[in-house]
């Protein structure tokens, strides 16, 4: 194995060597490695290319902050695009490749962009590609082809995802010292605790720490705490779980990755689990992110954050370089120098501060590490790997140029510009942040939800303070939950004496910032100091404008490394201080979340409930294709062998007109309305006079919105003096019930009425056609069905085929017809019984399509098809339904000038003049198809069919002033540009007198 791998240490399972492939080459590593540590161990420097300039890039960080090492893992449909190599756990056989770089990451044609990088400065696209106008399309294609990182998998996801709703007293986000301590205190005190950490192990920074906690090594302490927590029933430990979103009212979303760390095939179960947590209290212990320093060519492979270097050495037993320069403005990076030194690397510290570091400085000196104080690294040499740095003396004045007098050869630069608390979740929760001048970072302000922040995330950068902070946060959270905190001792950790950090947001160079080699602020998007300065020069001065103009913080890392530096550079340009410039908005997701995770189990046929009637199985058996109506599946038609839709529908329609047919109408909404005030209530809802209805009678009723537009319709029946049975349209059922309840509860609470939904209780079978009476009679119907005893538009309780039913004598086809309402438990039996009894009479089941044709022949409208929310009952010629005696919902609106306009679109019938053409539904109607564009339209076709019984096409339409225009000829403007002549008629094509339904 390559020389970068240390022979001992780390948290690897050295007994488990594994192999993985990157960009087609195979490498060795150990279980416990990440892809990043595996690559570093093998001396792979270039892992990606930057977005715009295509500069070769190496690994910078060791966790979620990584901007450069964006890789595609796996193949085919199981590929995962855009992973950070630093977060990919290696398994044997893992296949990964760089997301950018063509033909290869080591030789990228796109790198020519670098040569013209000055032209490609921020805002470049807005200023060019405009000439000639029509070529933009081609320019754009080129731009698109070179953009993007990963590739979409080439098939449907082979894995599945699940959701889990959870509740807890205390949710702890982040399992470093602060989070672990908080969880321990909360758990021992008996609270229901969820602890989530995005890494594969709990411990956070302690996993790479050489500190003693209490009197044990930090990772050992972690192990003890985790072991204790995992034994407790009131604790849920979620590792590999990113708290990615903090929403209102302490709703927190966590993405748990269950199988990505396993070789494909090794794993069962869901790939990821979405935890939807409602927490009484949240403790945010996300830690802090180390900032890079901004110097020329600071993006070269081999330049890393100091803490990442320490992490690779201590946790992964990889020393990323043989000779290193540690460049810092604060004490913490000396730890990296010590770690490098211990790992056998040559190391020099360049400290921008005149006085260097305190305790760690002494330790470094003791270890014999050379330290240059009051110096800066102002440039880096090497292209695909660092070969050295240029160092200059610096007096602390940012406006001065420096003179790089020293060259140091090295293959690794470990940089530290200080630390930024991870205030992401706090900010998402609505909290603001304050600038802490001592620590030179934003720290979270007061929580606005039931939350607190602990540890480095709160600006406490020592382990001792982190442990104490976690402890205190838990105690406070427990108190807020009304629980007593158990006394838990906070383990001792030695505090390290430190010198103050020196603000250093941009390292001075040999030339001024606009001319010097690029000083990168945002690595992924190639945003440099010069870009920010350019944005300011061009007037894009607000931090949000700078973000959008330069793409600062726009990448997959969302500026975790670069944002604060960028804002500070901006502040300098504007001559303002950093808090005045402020931050951009922190938004979910903390790290990106899989779409499939959001979808969870709601995929495929479970995307949306598929509602079935109680007779559904019979229809399936009969081979009926289904029509989707809202969530329902309804039989569309019942084809016989060799029949298509049209043939079947013609046959079904003729059967109803000439003999008898049956249809499943169970999807209609049904409501039981009763109480002493039910009449008064329904008077206000329906447009017709309710009081006049006799018990046992039915009526067609409509409801209007308060805007006067038709909202829903259906047959309603008076079952008793104080009881009605209301039906609604299929799509309107839920809405109508809620609408009725809202009036009852909010506006007229004095009315004593109870509403109960019966939609699922009753199934409805329509039996229609001249023979329908005979069919029912043959089923031992217990009531007389003759015309006199059971008149049209009445309702009876009866027994049919031995089953209790509500029998309606209503008709949506215009034929003699009955609707059988039967307990859904017996509906399939009833369906079969009617079918059998009807057989001698030629019984024909029919579907929604025939139903539509039959009702259209009669001019009956379907709400939602013939109406669209802009149609009044007057437009539909339903004046006869509008009571003059009373007020009802929507009545006032009908008197508005626009509703009285004589040229409103009104319901009419249409006949094709050629007697053949069935006009597509939706087609617009015009008076003059030759008129110049825009051609005035006088209406549109709402329903259109071939009528088998009339042997011609018929259509319903809404036509301006249509009622006055019977017999006039207008034109249907077809999609292909042609026009078909049609004649306006009455919308009732069949049995205008309504004799057939009265027999």
């Amino acid at each position: 194995m390559s020389s970068n791998r240390l022979s001992s240490g780390g948290r690897l399972q050295r007994s488990q060597p594994i192999r993985f492939s990157f960009n087609g080459k195979t490498y060795g590593a150990f279980a416990g490695d990440t892809l990043a540590s595996g690559l570093l161990a093998n001396g792979v420097a270039v892992v990606g290319r930057s977005f715009k300039l295509r500069r070769p890039r190496g690994i910078v960080g060791a966790g979620a902050e990584e901007p450069n090492a964006i890789v595609q893992v796996g193949r085919g449909a199981a590929a995962i695009p855009n992973l950070r190599a630093t977060q990919v756990e290696l398994y044997d056989g893992l296949v990964a490749r760089s997301s950018k770089g063509w033909p290869s990451v080591n030789f990228d044609i796109g790198a020519v962009n670098g040569a013209v990088s000055r032209v490609l400065a921020a805002g470049f696209y807005y200023k060019t590609f405009m000439w000639p106008q029509r070529l933009w399309h081609y320019y754009e294609r080129g731009i698109r082809a070179s953009a993007g990182f990963g590739t979409v998998p080439d098939g449907p996801d082979p894995n599945y995802y699940v959701h889990r709703n959870a509740h807890c007293d205390i949710l702890v986000a982040g399992g470093g010292p602060a989070g672990l301590m908080a969880a321990l205190v909360a758990a021992r005190s008996g609270a229901r605790v969820i602890l989530a950490d995005e890494q594969c192990e709990f411990g956070g920074s302690l996993l790479a720490s050489r500190e003693l906690v209490g009197d044990v090594a930090a990772p050992y302490w972690v192990g003890e705490v985790v072991a204790e927590l995992s034994r407790m029933e009131n604790v849920t430990l979620l590792k590999r779980s990113t708290v990615f979103g903090y929403y209102d009212h302490n709703f927190v979303a966590i993405a748990e990755r269950c199988t990505d760390h396993l070789a494909p095939g090794e794993s069962g179960g869901p790939r990821e689990r979405l935890w939807r947590v409602r927490a009484r209290q949240v403790i945010l212990a996300q830690g802090a992110i180390e900032r890079p320093l901004v110097f020329c060519n600071n993006d070269r492979p081999g330049v890393m954050t100091a803490s990442a270097v320490s992490t690779y050495i201590n946790r992964y037993a990889v020393c990323p370089g043989d000779s290193a320069v540690v460049f810092t403005n604060n004490d913490s990076a000396y730890q990296a120098a010590l770690d490098l030194n211990r790992a056998g690397a040559r190391v020099v510290v360049i400290d921008s501060r005149a006085e260097g570091a305190a305790a760690l400085g002494a330790a470094a000196r003791e270890a014999g590490i050379p330290i240059l104080q009051g110096h800066v690294v102002c440039n880096v040499s090497g292209r695909r790997n660092v070969t050295g740095v240029r160092v200059a003396l610096w007096n602390g004045d940012i406006s001065e140029r420096v003179h790089p007098g020293i060259n140091i050869d090295c293959d690794l630069v470990a940089m530290s510009g200080g630390w930024s608390p991870a205030v992401h979740l706090h900010s998402q929760s609505g909290g603001s942040n304050h600038w802490n001048a001592d620590k030179q970072c934003f720290v979270p302000g007061d929580a606005v939800q039931a939350a607190s922040v602990a540890g480095a995330a709160a600006g406490d950068f020592t382990s001792r303070a982190c442990l104490q902070g976690g402890h205190d946060a838990a105690a406070a959270a427990l108190a807020a939950c009304g629980m007593a905190a158990k006394a838990v001792a906070v383990p001792e950790v030695d505090d390290v004496d430190e010198h103050a950090l020196q603000p250093l947001w941009r390292v001075p160079a040999a030339k001024d910032p606009d001319r010097c080699p690029k000083q990168f602020v945002d690595f992924q998007n190639d945003t440099s100091v010069a870009d920010i300065r350019l944005a300011v020069r061009e007037g894009y001065r607000n931090v949000e404008h700078v973000k959008r103009y330069t793409a600062l913080g726009f990448g997959t890392d969302q500026g975790k490394l670069g944002n604060i530096n960028g804002m500070a550079v901006l502040a300098e340009c504007l001559g303002e201080d950093i808090p005045a410039v402020g931050t951009t908005t922190f938004r979910p997701a903390y790290t990106p979340v899989t779409f499939g995770l959001g979808a969870g189990e709601n995929t495929g046929e479970l995307l949306d409930p598929l509602r079935k009637t109680a007779i559904h199985a019979c229809h399936e058996l009969a081979g009926a294709p289904m029509e989707v109506v809202g969530q329902w599946h309804r039989p569309w038609f019942f084809p016989q062998p060799g029949e298509d839709l049209h043939a079947a529908v013609e046959r079904e329609c003729l059967a109803v007109r000439n003999r008898v047919g049956m249809m499943d109408a169970s999807t209609l909404g049904k409501i039981d309305a009763r109480g002493p005030d039910v009449v008064a209530f329904l008077e206000r809802i329906y447009t017709h006079d309710i009081g006049k209805m006799q018990v046992g009678r039915c009526a067609y009723g409509i409801m209007l919105g308060e805007d006067g537009m038709l909202m829903d319709d259906g047959v309603m029946a008076r079952i008793g003096e104080q009881q009605f049975y209301l039906t609604t349209t299929t799509g309107g059922a839920a809405h109508v019930l809620a609408w009725l309840e809202s009036w009852l509860q909010t506006e007229w609470p004095e009315l004593e009425v109870y509403l109960t939904s019966l939609t699922d209780q009753y199934s409805t079978i329509a039996v229609a056609g001249p023979k329908s009476r005979e069919v029912l009679q043959s089923l031992d119907c217990t009531v007389d069905l003759d015309r006199e005893s059971f008149a049209f538009m009445s309702v009876r309780e009866a027994e049919l085929a031995g089953m209790p039913v509500q029998l309606f004598r209503v008709s949506f086809s215009g034929e003699l017809a009955f609707e059988v309402n039967v307990d859904s438990r017996y509906a399939a039996d009833m369906w079969r019984a009617i079918a059998a009894a009807g057989e001698p009479f030629g019984m024909t089941p029919y579907g929604t399509e025939a139903m539509h044709v039959l009702r259209a022949e009669k001019g009956f409208v379907i709400v939602g098809q013939d109406t669209d929310g802009s149609v009044t009952p007057l437009d539909l010629r339903m004046n006869w339904l509008l009571s003059k005696q009373k007020d009802f919902l929507g009545k006032r609106s009908l008197a508005r000038p626009d509703c009285l306009r004589p040229d409103r679109k009104q319901l009419v019938g249409l006949l094709s003049v050629d007697g053949r053409t069935v006009i597509p539904e939706g087609t617009q109607l015009v008076d003059d198809p030759e008129a110049p564009v825009p051609v005035p339209m006088c209406g549109h076709v709402t329903s259109s069919y071939y009528s088998a019984c009339l042997q011609q096409p018929i259509a319903l339409a809404l036509v301006a002033a249509g009622r006055q225009r019977h017999d006039e000829r207008i034109y249907a403007a077809l999609a292909d540009g042609s026009a078909v002549a049609v004649t306006i008629t009455s919308p009732v094509f069949y049995d205008a007198e309504g004799e057939r339904q009265h027999v």
Binding site: N82, R118, Y247, A589, T603, Q924, T942, A973
Partner: protein, 416 residues
């Protein structure tokens, strides 16, 4: 204004980009303007630009409480199309479309208007009826529109699930080929730069806190940067319309709701057009940078929080995975919200008000980005002439009294 050109790019590059001019000045508010435009979104900036350009009214201030383009202009999913249902709406949006087609050149600022086509999918018979109706109307109005079948759709959008077994199978779609997307920020910046060049003062960090009236007419505004006198005040503040209306003692037929959107991480080109679906409720396009840009629905409740509920996002992810099963493993990078001003008929208000000299342009709800140039053009006319242009006359406040609503819920079914 110094023109952008290939030459200027090279020249400036040679000068280390040190000689670029500010895109717009940063003037302090003057005491008096002929017209004060409240709101520095795309619509407000376009209004100022067309006031200056078409009507010669250059003593204009745009007052923006934050940074220009920071409202919905900066947070929308950038779909531009004109295939609305009703003639009134179609003609207004089509006017806008025509302006879009030359906008980069007119503004000398590349707004990256990309006419890659928009597909509105139909998943059931009623969807198809509505599509036929809309396409038929569009054609008669001179707007390009077609009805396309599943085979053609699947060719144009290979990753879309067009199988018959889908929970919501694709039965067809309407297609407007001239429709597409544009770079939202560039629209605000381009209009700002062009308006500034014509003398308009664009004043950021200047919140209007009061509308001063004398008798029945407007005399100016109060702002966080002092009072400004003006005989004409034009309010274009999208989600904040009701807040401004209250300052003038009015209530509007508007509710403000959070509307969300999200983007994926950047991907290699995977989707060359724009796809919208009402039945599964989602829509998606891919930006030139490579992110999938995805719009979610509105949250039902009133809100000014520029954020929304997570279940709305989950629902949209379901929709996207249903439409594009291979996007299941793609990841959401960032989600955000905007505050949209929703009108009862899903159509805007571009109108005079009961207060003389006070004009409102609002109610664009989930779909006004596409109207940016047209809206500004028509609003400028209304302000300059103190009467609406015939294109926006139907969009008056009066329609709520007369009942002449223009119901575009169908064509606007998916928030976009």
């Amino acid at each position: 204004m110094k023109k952008y050109s290939a030459l200027s790019l090279v020249r400036n590059a040679l000068g280390h980009n040190r000689h670029w001019q500010p895109a717009w000045r940063k003037p302090a508010p003057k005491q008096e303007y002929d017209v004060v435009v409240v709101g520095g979104g795309g619509h407000g900036l376009a209004t100022a630009y067309y006031l200056a350009k078409e009507h010669g009214i250059r003593n204009v201030a745009v007052l923006e409480k934050g940074w220009v383009g920071g409202g919905n202009t900066g947070r929308n999913t950038t779909i531009v199309r004109s295939n609305y249902l009703w003639t009134e709406a179609s003609l207004l949006y089509e006017k806008s479309m025509q302006l879009w087609e030359g906008l980069s050149q007119e503004l000398n600022y590349n707004v990256m208007f990309s006419q890659r086509g928009v597909y509105n999918l139909g998943h059931n018979l009623q969807d198809m009826r509505d599509i036929e109706r809309r396409v038929s109307a569009n054609r008669l109005n001179g707007i390009d529109a077609e009805v396309v079948g599943p085979a053609e759709i699947s060719k144009a959008i290979p990753l879309l699930d067009t199988s018959a077994s889908a929970r919501y199978p694709v039965l067809g779609a309407s297609l407007q080929r001239r429709a597409g997307v544009a770079r939202h920020d560039a629209v605000a910046w381009g209009f700002a730069r062009a308006a500034d060049a014509l003398g308009v003062d664009i004043i950021e960090q200047c919140e209007v806190t009061g509308i001063r009236r004398n008798g029945g007419r407007v005399v100016g505004v109060e702002t966080t940067r002092g009072n400004v006198v003006a005989n004409k005040v034009a309010v274009v503040v999208a989600g904040h319309a009701s807040v401004l209306a209250e300052m003038a003692g009015m209530r509007l037929p508007i509710e403000s709701h959070p509307l969300q959107a999200f983007v994926s991480e950047p991907l290699k080109p995977a989707l060359d057009t724009v796809v919208m679906s009402g039945a599964v409720h989602g829509y998606i396009s891919q930006s030139d940078k490579g992110e999938l840009v995805i719009g979610a629905g509105i949250d039902a409740y009133n809100g000014y929080g520029q954020r929304g509920s997570f279940q709305t996002i989950e629902h949209t992810m379901e929709a996207i995975v249903a439409l594009f099963p291979s996007f299941s493993r793609v990841r959401m990078l960032r989600q955000w919200g905007g505050i949209v001003d929703v009108c009862p008929d899903a159509c805007p208000i571009i109108s005079k008000t009961p207060v003389d000299g006070l004009y409102f342009n609002c109610g664009w709800g989930t779909g006004g980005f596409k109207a940016t140039p047209g809206s500004g053009w028509a609003f400028a006319h209304t302000i300059a002439r103190d009467q609406p242009h015939e294109l926006n006359a139907p969009f008056s406040l009066q329609r709520f009294v007369s009942g002449a609503l223009i119901d575009e819920h169908g064509a606007a079914a998916v928030a976009h």
